[in-house]
Symmetry: C2
Subunit: 409 residues, 2 copies
């Protein structure tokens, strides 16, 4: 399949089939290898599907089986995946077939052998993984989909002391978004905005939670601006009534009831780039507590967004919010938000910047953050969020909708 935008003979333009031009991937690889050099890593084992997509474009629902990308200190990365997935990996990944290795089907889900043993052997054989007394191989040892058995199989080939933690090296390279990535996020923002409008409209007394979700999922796939929607890393969440006091409940087929509030958390997604968004809807006049909390949080959000400028440490954004809600007598124990961009199930957070008191990372233009203000109380809750792209002059709201509690009477 052809590549867009490079203008080189092997890269004719076909914008529809490939989300990014080759040059973008070359730049990403270079920045990862520069970071590897700073840590003297001889190779990097990348397992997080979001990092595989970032570095190669590889995009398939194959991450439920062991797979990885191995990035050498110099030269091109190689993809290792199940044989049936290796065969079609070139439909999405820019890699030539010589850099794609499929492990045999009979290694799948066996108690005695593990695909990561095969992967390590092959990678050593083709010279990708250094071995010996000085070898320093880093791996994503806290990534989803890298199991202890996979790790132990890799370790058995490399030897104790030669397998290090990458400390989310690729994730940190991803924090500043390129202009092309920012465009993807703006499309995702429109999908999020449109879908939240539909979700809020469909919240009605007597309607079942699953009916609301049906509307949300329809809109998420449809997309916006004639550009399709992609699947979200997290399904729509609808904590309702009493259960709104707990953040990660999904949905049931119970009907929505009068005098209850529902929090909606969803994302618009385009080419794996996520824009999450949360709002709260009250069916009937809200309680005094809910109304007061909503007011404080909206004011706190304003303060947080005003504080968000390039050059400011991320923890200052947290401080601006807590200062405001503190005046109303509220506290919030959990972080206020996190860096966003590419996402795969089960998480759309980037696992880098968190808006919390310990976060000393200094904000830069091109960063993208989900400021999610969840107040989970005893038997009720309130959520409000904004996803923003940080520009030189401050945050650009990616899904600008009213920030008040929605009251439907």
């Amino acid at each position: 399949m052809p590549w867009p935008g490079d203008g080189t003979p092997d890269d004719p333009t076909d914008v529809e089939s490939r989300p990014f031009p080759r040059a973008e991937y070359r730049d990403r690889l270079q920045r990862v290898q520069e970071a590897m050099a700073r840590h003297a890593f001889g190779a990097l084992v990348v397992v997080d599907p979001a990092n595989l997509y970032y570095l190669t474009g590889y995009n398939a629902w194959s991450f439920y089986m062991p797979q990885c990308l191995i990035v050498p200190a110099h030269g091109e990365p190689h993809l290792f995946t199940r044989a049936m997935d290796a065969q079609g990996a070139h439909y999405t990944a820019y890699l030539p077939q010589s850099q794609i290795h499929g492990y045999p089907e009979d290694l799948v889900q066996r108690p005695d052998v593990h695909p990561f043993g095969w992967i390590a052997d092959r990678a050593i054989e083709v010279g990708l993984l250094p071995v010996g007394v000085d070898a320093r191989v880093a791996a994503e040892t806290d990534a989803h989909f890298f199991s202890p058995r996979g790790y132990l199989a890799l370790l058995s080939r490399l030897g104790q002391g030669h397998l290090l933690d990458s400390h989310e090296l690729v994730n940190w390279v991803r924090v500043v978004k390129s202009p092309l990535e920012q465009d993807k996020m703006r499309v995702a923002g429109e999908i999020a905005q449109q879908t939240m409008r539909i979700a809020v409209d469909s919240i009605e007394v007597g309607r079942r939670q699953c009916d609301v979700v049906a509307q949300i999922q329809y809109s998420q796939a449809l997309g916006a601006r004639k550009l399709g929607g992609d699947y979200p890393a997290i399904v729509p969440m609808l904590p309702t009534g009493e259960t709104a006091g707990t953040p990660h409940l999904t949905w049931s087929d119970l009907p929505l009831r009068a005098h209850e509030a529902t929090t909606i958390e969803l994302a618009g997604v385009h080419h794996r780039y996520h824009v999450p968004l949360a709002r709260t809807v009250s069916l009937g006049r809200p309680s005094h507590d809910l109304d007061r909390c909503a007011g404080a949080v909206t004011e706190g959000l304003q303060a947080a967004l005003e504080r968000m400028r390039p050059g400011v440490p991320a923890r200052d954004v947290h401080a601006a919010f807590t200062e405001v809600i503190g005046r109303y007598g509220y506290t919030k124990a959990s972080r206020l938000g996190y860096s966003i961009g590419i996402g795969y199930p089960p998480d759309w957070g980037e696992h880098t910047i968190s808006l919390r008191p310990e976060e000393t990372t200094v904000l830069k233009a091109g960063m993208a953050l989900h400021v999610i203000l969840g107040m989970w109380m005893d038997g009720w809750g309130y959520e409000l969020s904004e996803s923003v792209l940080l520009g030189d002059d401050g945050p650009e709201r990616l899904a600008p909708l009213p920030q008040e509690l929605v009251v439907k009477i």
Copy 2:
């Protein structure tokens, strides 16, 4: 929230809010502890969200953060999760608050400390995890969402040699479905059947892939028989045209084209129980190759289902299929199917029985299998599947639809 069906004073009937009565969970725990005793495990660390749900009913999108259930050799299990999720865990889990432990928010995504260190310390403190020279703790070391860093944190508290692999102990307890579980699967089957009908209807020349997915996802959430649909562990997959030769592509916003075939793989889901289903649709007269392959696979499927009886080793089902397609000159390298039941992203397979030559497990009544016949060729592909419940007299098709290639002209 009340419990259905037990008839005891603390468990009044409320069928809507809890999928299973307490007695069902007591039985499941007992069978797991019996299996633990056979291996002399002093404790079992359960990480797979499907196993958490099976043993306690706990159901929330919190598995992107470290969490586990620790089952002692005797007595009640305890749940360990992030503080914000621990607070509302009782909405779905049957456990009293004294058996739910929330780790502090400041342990989230830190490079220096890991929640599994806190979990291990607390579990040792409350006497759940045995320590000492004879301690034998088993953990799900190939489960999704158990990272190497989590494993190493746990190992550091228990000591080398005391942390063993559970070899999917809980998954194997799950293979025979209770009558109540079978009822959930029948509802899921109706959702799958209805959704596949809608998917096939919506496949049309010029319609975008994402528009078809919008219809599928709408129907998946709506459910059937007035019972709601739950989220699938895998999003709808639509490998189309040339890319139908690769199994795990998701969708794009490209329009469907005449003279191309699309394979559809989706699931109906109810209370986390999955019934997956695959069909192939040809827009226009199929190629000779596709038509011939479809005929051979349908005949092979009949042979496989006829061979599927209690008392038969699972590998015989594989042999029956390969014998038929071999007569047509086809082979299939990958397994022919797998055990199904509860599923969480990223996989609806149970990680137990595989229909392949090495599988000696003897089939029993109450097992549920997805027989998925994917033929991934060079530049084209064909898929057909059936999800079945095995009864004394043979397989019950959970989503009975015609088994032929669908041709739309």
